[in-house]
């Protein structure tokens, strides 16, 4: 059944009155996913921005657990096995929701173990590219040259100095031969929701990595959240693709006109130093890295 905006239910599965910031990208990603997941969901949420949004005010209308920072995968394994033993597993969507820090950094071990053991769950990682909840500290997915509170601008520093491309969680999951893994963006909701629907039908682990821009952390006005996410896709800074069984790559969004990465960077306060004087050449470096990644991805998708 193809998902269209009209086919989604009217009901809200998370009550109004969330905590958190105005214009938050992560909460858009979570709300969109709940429209497909429905009422029969158990959600485990790692310590992160979404916990401040949902947990501390009591928003979700389905059973919800706020786990510790690094054990989302392990909690999902325990819940999945417990429900299986009690013969209550059928018809329940088990979802893990974590930020980029709670997935790629501290949560990597338990996620890796849970995926390797093959438990049935969907893991949604909303990527706002830093530890936004505790005050915008850099994480493993923070892009090169971004200013964060732990990689500030200074005499000796130009922001995030890590030259290697940021952690690619989908390819890490693909290396586990996970049945289904994909990237998604809140700017392409139908594609994202199709992926969530696909993931709920798989009898095994699945992983979705959603780009969730953060107005406060990235430095842009709160009404541009979805526009920034769209630019990230159109400049190929954040490609949207999916992987089946770790080997079959498929590109979902191939922009007809690949925009220069400058258009994405200039709208964000965390990259404002790149447009002044000595740091201009870094934009060239970023464009090169994006091009290399895009070419490699196209090769993977065509084989």
């Amino acid at each position: 059944m193809t998902i269209t905006l009209k086919s989604l239910p009217d009901d809200e599965f998370v009550a109004l009155g969330r905590g958190g910031c105005s214009g938050c990208g992560a909460v858009i990603a979570a709300r969109m996913a709940t429209k497909v997941l429905g009422k029969r969901t158990i959600m485990v949420n790692a310590t992160s921005c979404m916990v401040a949004n949902y947990c501390y005010v009591g928003a979700p209308l389905f059973p919800y657990l706020h786990g510790l920072f690094e054990n989302t995968g392990a909690l999902l394994s325990g819940i999945d096995t417990g429900l299986k033993v009690l013969n209550k597993r059928d018809g329940i969507n088990l979802v893990g929701l974590a930020g980029d820090g709670g997935t790629a950094d501290i949560g990597l071990q338990s996620l890796s173990g849970a995926v390797e053991r093959g438990h049935k769950f969907l893991y949604i990682c909303y990527d706002n590219e830093a530890y936004q909840n505790t005050g915008i500290q850099r994480s493993g997915t923070t892009p090169y040259a971004a200013i964060t509170s732990t990689t500030p601008l200074g005499k000796n520093a130009m922001g995030e100095a890590r030259q290697l491309f940021r952690k690619d969680m989908v390819r890490i999951m693909a290396a586990h031969k996970i049945p289904y893994a994909a990237t998604a963006s809140i700017s392409h909701p139908l594609d994202y929701l199709r992926k969530v629907q696909r993931a709920t039908e798989i009898d095994g682990p699945s992983y979705i990595h959603v780009l969730s821009p953060c107005p406060l952390g990235w430095g842009f006005p709160e009404n541009l959240t979805i526009k920034i996410a769209r630019l990230a896709v159109e400049t190929c800074f954040f490609p949207i693709y999916e992987v089946e069984n770790g080997t079959k790559f498929r590109l979902n969004v191939d922009p007809k006109e690949k925009k220069p990465v400058e258009e994405y960077l200039k709208l964000q306060g965390r990259f404002r130093h790149l447009f002044k004087g000595e740091f201009r050449e870094l934009i060239g470096k970023i464009q090169e890295a994006v091009n290399t990644n895009w070419e490699y991805l196209k090769k993977l998708c065509s084989s």
């Binding site: 109004l16 009591g58 928003a59």
Partner: protein
């Protein structure tokens, strides 16, 4: 509502689930967040032009709060709308406009 660690009004205090019964662990009933009226400190509010609106549903799915309601006429729940302006930005027909709150 909880703000900075203190219950801000007496009504919230008596509605809180831990006042009457022993909770055993720290948990909240589902939907308790409705007590948090996020529309309180808004500085601008969106208004949908019903004639231009084609009811496509893009603003409805993009709202971070979930404050837009679908139907014959799309309505905004102003108790919770924070005035972030994402609906205005995403509307393909520019059928929403912002009005400054007084």
């Amino acid at each position: 509502m909880w703000l900075g660690g203190k219950m801000t009004d007496e009504i919230s205090y008596y509605l809180h689930p831990w006042i009457k019964n022993r909770p055993i662990t720290a948990w909240l009933p589902p939907g308790y967040s409705r007590i948090n009226k996020t529309g309180a400190n808004r500085y601008q509010r969106p208004e949908i032009d019903d004639e231009k609106c084609t009811k496509c549903g893009i603003c409805w799915i993009c709202c971070p709060e979930g404050a837009i309601g679908r139907g014959k006429k799309f309505t905004i729940d102003y108790e919770y709308c924070r005035g972030c302006g994402i609906c205005l930005e995403e509307c393909p027909l520019k059928a929403i406009r912002m009005i400054k709150e007084v």
